[in-house]
Structure formats: C-alpha cells, structure tokens
Symmetry: C2
Subunit: 216 residues, 2 copies
Amino acid sequence: MNTLAEENYLKAIYHLSLNDTNVSTNQIAAAINTKAASVTDMLKKLADKELINYEKYQGVTLTNAGEKIALHIIRKHRLWEYFLVEKLNFKWDEVHEMAEEMEHISSVELIDRLDKFMDYPKHDPHGDPIPDRDGNFKKHELKPIASLNVNESGVISGVRDHSPTFLQYLEKQQLTIGKKITVTDIIEYDNSMILQVENITTHISREVAKNLLIAI
Amino acid sequence: MNTLAEENYLKAIYHLSLNDTNVSTNQIAAAINTKAASVTDMLKKLADKELINYEKYQGVTLTNAGEKIALHIIRKHRLWEYFLVEKLNFKWDEVHEMAEEMEHISSVELIDRLDKFMDYPKHDPHGDPIPDRDGNFKKHELKPIASLNVNESGVISGVRDHSPTFLQYLEKQQLTIGKKITVTDIIEYDNSMILQVENITTHISREVAKNLLIAI
DNA sequence: TAAAAAATTTAGACTTGTCTAAAAATAAAT
DNA sequence: ATTTATTTTTAGACAAGTCTAAATTTTTTA
Ligand SMILES: [Mn+2]
Ligand SMILES: [Mn+2]
Ligand SMILES: [Mn+2]
Ligand SMILES: [Mn+2]
C-alpha cells in the first residue's frame, strides 16, 4: 500500500485543503514539520501515483484516489481517539499523539469492527466528524462563539485549536463538547465575553471565543 | 526510541533464544525474512546500542536491556491479540498479522490501560503468556500431546505452530485452548492418536499431536 | 588434519526520505 | 516596468535498511 510518510502527506494536504483550494509547498512543510525541498520530492512521488494533481510552482490538490486515502486515515485517527477516550478513559487532550501512530494500522476489517464495537460514533472527542467506511460524513456547519451577540446561545460542538493546553483550559472551564452556552455580556474594551455555561458563569478572551465552535 | 526494524530483530532474537542459547545470523534471517548480510548489519547496530551481545561468527544473545524491550513488544502483541479476539470477535487464526503492526504502538500508558480494560489477561488467544508491565510472567510448562500414553489426559494450553491453517484445523476439530482431552488409542502403524475431546472422538496425526500442547 | 561445505561477514550498490545550499520562478513593491 | 523579496525547485549529500556477489571464517567430512 502506501508508506507512512505518504499517508502523512496526504492527510496534511487534505486538512490544508479545507482552508485553501490549492495547497502550497510551504504550507505542507510547516504542517508536517519538514523542509520545502523534502516536500517537493514527495509531491513528485504522489503525483506519479496519481494521488495528487501537481503542477510545478502551482500547489497541489488531492485526486479522488488521494482524498479517499486521506479520509480513511482520518477515519482511523478519529475512531482510535474515540476508543481511547470512551473505552480507556483518556482525557481529550491526551489522545492525539497516540492516534497519530494508530491511524497507520492497515487492516480495514479491524477498523470496521472497532467502529461497530463502539456503536458507530459520529464524532470524535473533539467534535470532529468520523467518516464512514466509504469516506462519507455530514460536515456540520460550525461557527466560533466569537461570532455571537449578547443573549445568543449555542451548543459547543468543536474546537479550532487542538493543542493540549487549550483543551485542558476548556476542560477546567467546563467548556466541553455538548455544553449549551449563552453569551450574557461582551466587554467592549477587549471584546472578551461573559458566558453562562449551564449554571456557571465564565469569562473568556476573544482568542478563546474564536477557537471554540458551536453548531449553527 | 527504537526503530520498527530494531524492534522486530529484538523480538525475533528473543523467540529464537527460547530454543538455542546463542542465536545465529541465519536463524534470524529466516525468522525475519531477510538476507544474512542484512542481519549482520543490524547486529552491529544493536550491539552498539548494547541491546545484544555480539561476537563475530559466534551468534548473539540479548542483554538485559534488549530482553526488556523484546518482552515489552511481546506484551503488546499478545494484549492486542487478546483485544482483537475478546472485544472485536476475531478468530484466533486472524489476529497475528494485525498484532504484528499494533505491537509497535509506543505508548506505555496506552498498553497499561488496555491491560486494565481487559482485566489483566494472563494468556493470549493461543495460550501464550502475557508479560506484565515489568516483563514478568509465569512460564507455564507445556508438553505435546504426542508425549502422552493411552488413557492419559490433559488440558489444551498452547500450540507450537501458529499458522492460520493449523489454527483453523484445530478450531474445526474443537481442539481449542481449555478443552480437556484424553488419549483413548494410539495407532501403531503411523503413531496417530485417537482423542476424546469432551463428548467428541477425534483422530489426529502424529504431526498434529506434536504441535498441540497441554499443561503438565 | 587437509579439503570441502556451510555459515558469516565485507564491499559496493540501491531505495526511501530527509537535509542544506544554490538556482529558478513567481509575487510584491517601488 | 524593473527591482526586490518570497516561494519553489534542483543539485548533491546523508542515514537507515536492504540486496547481491565476493571474501573470510567456522564447521564438517573424508
Ligand atoms: Mn487528533
Ligand atoms: Mn480529534
Ligand atoms: Mn501472534
Ligand atoms: Mn499469539
């Protein structure tokens, strides 16, 4: 099949494609923690395998075959994260690095059985959708809490920043997936927000409000 | 830590050490499906890391550090096999190849939690002992059914051949781990054996009798 | 115990994936 | 529309792991 390195490139390109239609060499290099020259080498290999569309200097897009592989890796990543949290009781800020390794386990039958074992979860611990075995998922439309006005509310459904420190902060503030929040005030001076989270009042910075997402 | 290749070499050396104190280059090459020249290269690297004791032309033994790593990989392999059979309902002949990949997942915390999740199993689906987190396990003494005389009996506790075809054959004959068997007759002509397995009578070849193990 | 056979190691080469430094192309700024 | 800055690609090198073919060592056999 594909090497571990190839899989990581395809996954990175997929994620970057969500923000930009054409993904640049430098973007990939930054995402994957390598140098641009290394990326160029790999892009040639992936293009040879017809997993990406690549024109020199013009950036890349995934072909259907490439996207299918990327989605399968993401499916595995998110199912293993769900397993680690729901079955092995890890916290949501602890599972990403382990899933980075587990997503490369190749057996399709294994991942389908794991999916069934957990009763076909639709979202991972961070609120991200889990593709089914055919790569399909309903992409829920989300928006940042920062876009709300006073007295508007929503249900926390995702995060834009997956770093452990951010996730730990949210956990401490009880700002976790599924919680309903209401904006009770916005401080004009710094655009920070006062939230009502169930029966708790919390004050979050603009920065946090931009990275915490609610269902539309 | 150690690379995937290094881990596979250490594991192979460990398994071969159970039969011979000094493990030869050719034995390793056969076990790992490589050429002797490649093995020699790797032995030098492992010796540099002080994971094996290596003297040119004399074969190798594991150091304590090397054995510890090997046992940890074997622990992971067998725990994942147990998981696949007990939680995901795979058959005992289907899990080895998947475990060959999963045994390289690095997190120690993950494997300890998996161990706890399954309530600290002592043996994998093939009857092999699962080392604890310190590498300790009680090596059960086993002997082949072939060593029994007429009217002697024992409990099936392991296999000497782990190939899917052998395991499938055993499954079909109900000759699975935990079953009590009694030798009711031995055919002198070919040394094949008639077994009573609970309320079923089965006829097995000498070859099979040598590879099916019972607790002493 | 000397010759033959088998096992092991060395030498040199190849692939994958990475890097630095330099060249080329594109984009931005005057 | 040039010049300047940024991005991307090429050139050449390196480490890990493997291979074949040849040399060396050990073991076996006569
Ligand atoms: Mn993740
Ligand atoms: Mn996630
Ligand atoms: Mn196995
Ligand atoms: Mn096993």
